[in-house]
């Protein structure tokens, strides 16, 4: 099955945030924004929300507890060896806990991100416009089948008015869900 998208191509990154606001004002739902570089303000303008920071915090807490449990088990429970006159359960854990926490939090955050975005090695990439990886900035709007011709021209006009250099319609392969 294929789906059609209307894509506005912009030449300048400075236009993007303004263009998003302009298009949103016309009650058009933006599906995606594709840019070769991260642009400040796009995330806020699209009113996206992410729970990833919270996940990172929880993973960090989990990591600290896990590493502490491991160190406690190895050096107090399983093989209690005194060295340097230090107590078995001691401050020297903190450095490893610090590093371990960073590792666990980072690793699990990346894994979460990849799973949520359905990214994996060898995934077939669908590029709507290869120039989005070079020097063009894209705003993508879904072209629903039930849109009237009038609405489609309104979308295209909104793109043009906000400074798009081209407006294209691009088809995208969508995997059909098994019923």
């Amino acid at each position: 099955m294929t789906k059609t998208n209307i894509i506005g191509v912009y030449d300048d990154e400075d236009l993007i945030v303004e263009a998003i606001h302009h298009i949103q004002k016309k009650d058009i739902k933006i599906k995606d924004v594709l840019t070769p570089i991260p642009i400040h303000g796009v995330f806020e303008a699209l009113k996206l929300e992410s729970r990833l920071p919270l996940a990172t915090f929880l993973y960090g807490t989990l990591g600290a507890i896990l590493v502490f449990a491991f160190l406690y088990w190895t050096s107090v429970v399983s093989y209690p060896l005194k060295f340097g006159g230090k107590p078995l359960n001691s401050l020297s854990f903190i450095i490893i806990m610090f590093v371990g926490t960073i590792f666990v939090a980072t690793f699990l955050t990346f894994m979460t991100f990849f799973i949520r975005q359905k990214l994996f090695p060898g995934k077939e990439v669908q590029v709507l416009d290869p120039r989005a990886t070079d020097d063009k900035f894209l705003i993508v709007v879904d072209k629903d089948e039930d849109l009237s011709a009038k609405e489609i021209t309104a979308i295209k006009k909104a793109f043009k008015d906000s400074g798009a250099s081209e407006v294209n319609e691009v088809e995208e392969e969508v995997k059909q869900k098994k019923n």
């Binding site: 915090f57 340097g84 006159g85 401050l91 020297s92 903190i94």
Partner: protein, 386 residues
């Protein structure tokens, strides 16, 4: 654009009352407990030296990195820099109290002490005073030069003074590395003359830098509430919060590095520094210092809603500034007074210094426009967005 700060009569009266309290506290201290008076003088001087050095370093760093987000608030650290000459005068009395503060300044103590004899070529009274003069000459000279450039830029415009500021900011950062390191050795580490720590200068520098940004943000928010800096928006607040959040981790990192190495090596000549701090009457303050300066801001600033709320941020910033007082207090008092004293002398002295700082700061901020209007990056700061 040419808005200037107008100091209200109320504010002036308040600062004069605070200064009066401080003056009475110090007079009372020197009459009844001279030891506590000297220690307090050093604590308060060092507290504000660290803040002023931190604020001017922050300013130099913003100039070198050509940061646009903060350029609208640059006049705050420029005004804080004017506290250096006052601190220079306030440090003069300390030079007369060396015998009460520093063990190494007693000739008879040095005569029976091999370690102090070994350190004598560096730690002796004449060289100590010469170094003090050099530090302040460098700090006052370079910060006044930076101030001169920014006010000339207001009149002339163009990139000439922007580039000059950037160059002299680099010079200032470079010279701070030497001068502030040695200054922290001189004034604080030499209280425990037998003890040394190689991370001491970094730890003290981070302390000042961290709390200086806290101070800048606190002033920015307070002035915004009074109607100045109308362009202060939530993205400025978020960026400042991130800055403070990172520095709170670096503060804990350096603090803990110093502690754990000494704890791990367990050498008697090093642990002597931490023994009275961790075991005895200073124990509660020792942990309070860590909680107030690290755990509290770490957990608070993790919350996204806090970082854009002016009122909550203001409370956090005031608590953090008290945290630096605990930090400096712990570094000075344990070696000089050996006992925990917090009373009218300490609180009154600190209030006096706050009043003096507030007055000098406001006076120097009010003399020039609040916005460096010809700064090339000023527009981006005023329209700062995510």
């Amino acid at each position: 654009m040419d808005q200037k700060l107008v100091i209200s009569q109320k504010f002036k009266t308040a600062t004069f009352i605070l200064m009066g309290i401080g003056f009475i506290a110090f007079v009372y201290a020197f009459v009844s407990h001279p030891e506590r008076g000297w220690a307090n003088l050093l604590i308060n001087n060092y507290y504000f030296i660290a803040l002023t050095v931190g604020a001017t370093f922050y300013l130099a760093l913003q100039n070198v990195t050509q940061s646009h987000w903060s350029s609208g608030f640059n006049r705050i650290p420029y005004a804080i820099a004017n506290f250096f000459p006052v601190l220079f005068i306030l440090m003069i009395p300390v030079m007369f109290g060396l015998h009460s503060l520093y063990h190494w300044s007693h000739a008879d103590a040095v005569a029976h002490d091999a370690i102090l004899q070994h350190k004598a070529p560096f730690l002796n009274v004449p060289f100590f005073i010469i170094r003090y003069l050099i530090y302040f000459a460098v700090w006052i000279g370079l910060t006044q030069l930076l101030r001169k450039f920014t006010f000339k830029e207001d009149l002339v415009g163009g990139l000439k003074y922007f580039e000059k500021t950037e160059f002299f900011s680099k010079v200032y950062i470079f010279s701070l590395a030497f001068t502030f390191s040695l200054a922290s050795f001189d004034w604080i580490m030499s209280i425990d003359a037998h003890w040394f720590s190689t991370i001491f200068a970094v730890r003290n520098f981070v302390m000042g830098f961290y709390h200086a940004i806290v101070l800048v943000l606190l002033i920015a928010i307070l002035m915004n509430k009074l109607g100045y800096f109308p362009y202060l928006n939530k993205y400025h607040l978020k960026d400042y919060s991130k800055y403070i959040f990172v520095l709170c981790i670096i503060w804990a990192y350096t603090w803990f590095s110093q502690y754990i190495l000494i704890w791990y090596a367990n050498l008697p000549e090093e642990t002597v520094y931490y023994m009275p701090r961790t075991k005895g009457e200073f124990t509660p303050l020792f942990y309070t210092e860590l909680i107030v300066n690290w755990l509290f801001p770490f957990l608070m600033l993790l919350l996204g809603k806090v970082t854009s709320n002016k009122n909550i941020l203001m409370v956090i910033m005031i608590i953090l500034l008290l945290g630096q007082y605990i930090d400096v207090y712990m570094q000075v008092t344990v070696g000089t007074l050996h006992h925990l004293n917090i009373g009218f002398i300490e609180i009154g002295g600190f209030l006096g210094y706050i009043g003096l700082f507030a007055y000098v700061f406001a006076w120097s901020l009010s003399r020039k426009p609040l916005i460096s209007k010809n700064h090339p990056l000023i527009e981006e700061s005023i329209k700062h967005h995510p």
